[in-house]
Symmetry: C2
Subunit: 532 residues, 2 copies
């Protein structure tokens, strides 16, 4: 199975899924499924009751076991009498499962499959790593360079395809996106589907979820996965025109559990409990804590969990939060955040490259890229967004232009190329290591007392500098004496705006005096020379 291509494997999984099991035949016998690579989705489809309201009437769970380990998770109703259970194996070997259901049609279904080696490029879910950094489940470092397309999955199919086309070459490996449709300034269009049954007059039946809606969304999650992009799923948000921000608690919980049952076997999802949770007046703090607890309890794959605020910061110290998801640009405070929370810090909303009337949507591309640098220099990560109105078009809050931040489409700004440059510099620490091995402690550590902002990525010993980045921000020294740590280093001038690397001759060690470009917003990279 090591030689299976991703396409082959997905085909096999697809076949397994299509062959819906007829439980009547199987209650006694073990069903043997085709092999599934580690970090791919195993999907069990069962025929069950379609009368009444399957979303509330029928319970279904399955326990997957591998040697002494067992993992129990919920299935979900996918409409038309079909029930599904999804699972993502993390270990090579023989896995067995057995269902429990309130419906005898779905109960005590048993089977097994072999989990085989991961496909090339599949590394499993991203988790916190090295305190304030990230890595995939298999240890591969993950450096989030995310973007924001809140409602891209709720636009026309043509626009969604354009968004995917854009993401194919964009420098982003994470997308913040809303599960629910969005209604907000510059965003007044209806979604193609609705997440709940709903009358023509717009009355929701929150007890009946719409499988078409979620099937569509999981297709998009899969599309992102194929591009190597994490889907940072925003579960609740306040930009609502349909009643989804003010559902009763019971409906909230049912919806959240449904998301977990459907999506958690996808390796590339993150849980963002809300965007701007504090603007959702109908929810209490206890509600948010409860949602976190539901995810803790139900997500068998321990995907990342956070929540995003507008003004009142959530207490990211709470143990059920895996990382901070900030709306501010307090980079100078980041070392304190890290020291207090011992978690990764995502600056998920630092204002967008754009030209809207709004402060949050009208910084220049240079300023946004600058914030990415400021974030990396303090050992954190920053998220992109773009809100550029066409200067030739009509532009006020009553029009619905296509803005990347909400609708997706095309990128027009200056920042993506600059962010791509920084991403390469950061990923270089994991791929071009000296003296010959990846820096397993991947991720930059801020200098404790920087005269100029600088950050170091360490070699596997966690002590020896691998790469040192200096970022001079608005400073433009024409020379500086750099206090280098032990070792010899090459030096390169970096122009973060022009995305240029200008190697400097020779090697440097000790107190290294270098001439510098003498213009603002420049950077420098020292790389450890391979020991001879």
């Amino acid at each position: 199975m090591n030689n299976l291509t991703r396409r082959d494997a997905l085909k096999l999984a697809s076949i397994a899924s299509i062959a819906a099991l007829h439980p009547g035949n199987l209650h006694a016998a073990q069903q043997q499924h085709p092999p599934v690579p580690v970090w791919e989705v195993f999907e069990l489809t069962l025929d069950g009751p379609s009368t009444g309201n399957p979303f509330v009437d029928v319970t279904l769970s399955a326990t997957f076991s591998f040697e002494h380990r067992t993992v129990t998770l919920d299935g979900f109703y996918d409409g038309d009498g079909k029930y599904k259970v999804r699972f993502m194996p993390d270990t090579i070997g023989a896995w067995n499962y057995k269902t429990v259901s309130s419906s005898s049609l779905l109960d005590n279904v048993q089977g097994s499959f072999a989990a085989v080696a991961a496909l090339a490029g599949a590394h499993g879910p991203v988790r916190a790593h090295n305190i304030h950094h990230f890595a995939h489940a298999d240890g591969t470092p993950f450096f989030p360079f995310g973007t924001t397309c809140y409602a891209w999955a709720h636009q026309s199919d043509e626009l969604q395809q354009q968004t995917l086309q854009t993401l194919r070459t964009a420098p982003f490996n994470k997308v913040r996106m809303c599960v629910f449709p969005k209604h907000y300034e510059y965003n007044h269009n209806e979604p193609p589907f609705y997440p709940f049954d709903r009358t023509a007059a717009g009355v929701n039946d929150f007890t009946r979820l719409n499988p078409i809606y979620f099937r569509h969304l999981e297709q998009r999650i899969g599309d992102l996965r194929a591009l190597g992009i994490e889907a940072d799923l925003i579960v609740f948000h306040p930009y609502d025109n349909w009643g989804y921000s003010t559902m009763p608690a019971e409906a909230d919980d049912r919806y959240l559990k449904y998301l977990i049952a459907r999506f958690s076997a996808y390796p590339n999802i993150w849980w963002s409990m809300a965007n701007e949770y504090d603007l959702m007046r109908a929810k209490s703090k206890a509600d948010w804590d409860r949602f976190f607890h539901i995810v803790e309890q139900k997500d068998a794959f321990a995907h990342l969990r956070s929540i995003h605020f507008s003004r009142e910061m959530y207490d990211y110290a709470r143990p059920w939060v895996t990382h901070a998801s900030l709306q501010n640009s307090e980079f100078a405070t980041a070392p304190e955040y890290i020291a207090n929370w011992r978690k990764p810090i995502m600056f998920d909303e630092v204002q967008y490259e754009g030209n809207l009337n709004r402060r949050w949507g009208n910084i220049s591309g240079e300023e946004l890229s600058r914030k990415f640098w400021l974030g990396v220099m303090v050992g954190c990560y920053v998220t992109h967004g773009e809100t550029l109105l066409d200067p030739a078009g009509p532009f006020d809050e009553n029009t619905t232009p296509t803005l990347w931040w909400s609708h997706g489409g095309k990128l027009h700004g200056a920042s993506p190329a600059q962010i791509a440059f920084l991403r390469r510099l950061v990923e270089d620490t994991a791929t071009h290591a000296a003296p010959g091995s990846p820096a397993v402690r991947a991720g930059f550590e801020a200098s404790a007392n920087p005269y100029y902002l600088n950050a170091t990525a360490y070699q596997p010993d966690g002590k020896t500098a691998h790469t040192i980045l200096y970022y001079f921000d608005s400073h433009q020294p024409i020379w500086y004496e750099f206090p280098l740590p032990d070792g010899a280093f090459t030096a390169e001038w970096l122009d973060p705006v022009a995305a240029e690397i200008i190697p400097q001759p020779g090697t440097y060690s000790g107190k290294a005096k270098l001439r510098l470009p003498g213009k603002p917003f420049q950077a420098l990279r020292f790389k450890a020379v391979r020991a001879s």
Copy 2:
């Protein structure tokens, strides 16, 4: 005397000065002097003892009286047996004086002169006004747009002349300058004169001041005055190679009193007790307080008094401090400073336009100008400095290039033109007022809750907006709806970098929606339309 030119008046004063009085002839009679315009320097020169040490042996003071008012101040020894008393009348009319001295040659000298109308352009010393703004003694608003030339008066005469030539067209109306010579990175040259007698081996006699040194300095103060520039005199500083930062308290006090006696009748001086006081380890906090008290007691003309810190902020709330002189760029904190201290806030060191290795001396011209805007937007004032090394020259801390910040010379940077533009905008509020009179409440008040930074200069009633400046900083809205106060306004786009004003058609009131340039670092001005 109203028709006297400045030159005529100075000639008269000069004659009075040259005609040194022979006290033997005068003890009985009133000496009648030529008239002196208000805010000019009246100087009385007396022959006295030259034996012993006149600096410590002889006391001399004079009391000037106008009707019921009396003002007592000290004279000083100017070498060669000459003693001087300087006075600056603030009121038109007949002034009398009478000396008191430990020397019978100088005691009980009496005389009188008429103070006549101020010369055109002379407005008297600058003082705090409207809580956190400044005005000359005659009420004329003063908006400080200062620069920093710490040691310009201690360079070659040629370089000093070049500095004055530069200042003639530069946008600066205040210069921070050290009384003592300076020894620091990039500044290792000896001064042409020393402030105290000193042996060839460099041993100082702190009991003997060098009149040549101070005569030279007051010539420079006069040169600045002729250019309409305030001399922000730095009394002590830590950049010392000669022992002036570690004198005994007695010598400190004698030196300070000498400065006051010599210089305080110049209308254009400010007292800065120190630069980076907290780096002067030989001084205690009590010393600084004592210096302030000496100035309070001895400076009959109540010039502005402040002190500048490096890291440990002096307590600017103390009543003897007239304004804050900050070394930081905490513009966002300025409203709090103003609320707490109820004084003008000078951001006197916000880093300099330059390219040195040092953080404090290598920001871009655009960044420095930006800080001027940020300061004005919060109702404060900012000071310029330039530390630009010639990229073609040798440049490290052991060379002595000519840097404006220390030596004067020429300006090479981009910021002066941009600062000139802002200064004109600010001064416009005092000179081109609507509806027809100067805004006597001159000075900008920050908006309490700015969505974008904005500040208002009010009309004489203190309530009606005269000019509203918006500064968008890194934001680049392509449109915005401005919440205007009562009244109708014209609007102009301002480009602070290109120093351009682009008038917008029509007038605006209420919620005024305007198209904007959609690029960063732009500004907007609303001016009240004259009531019809």
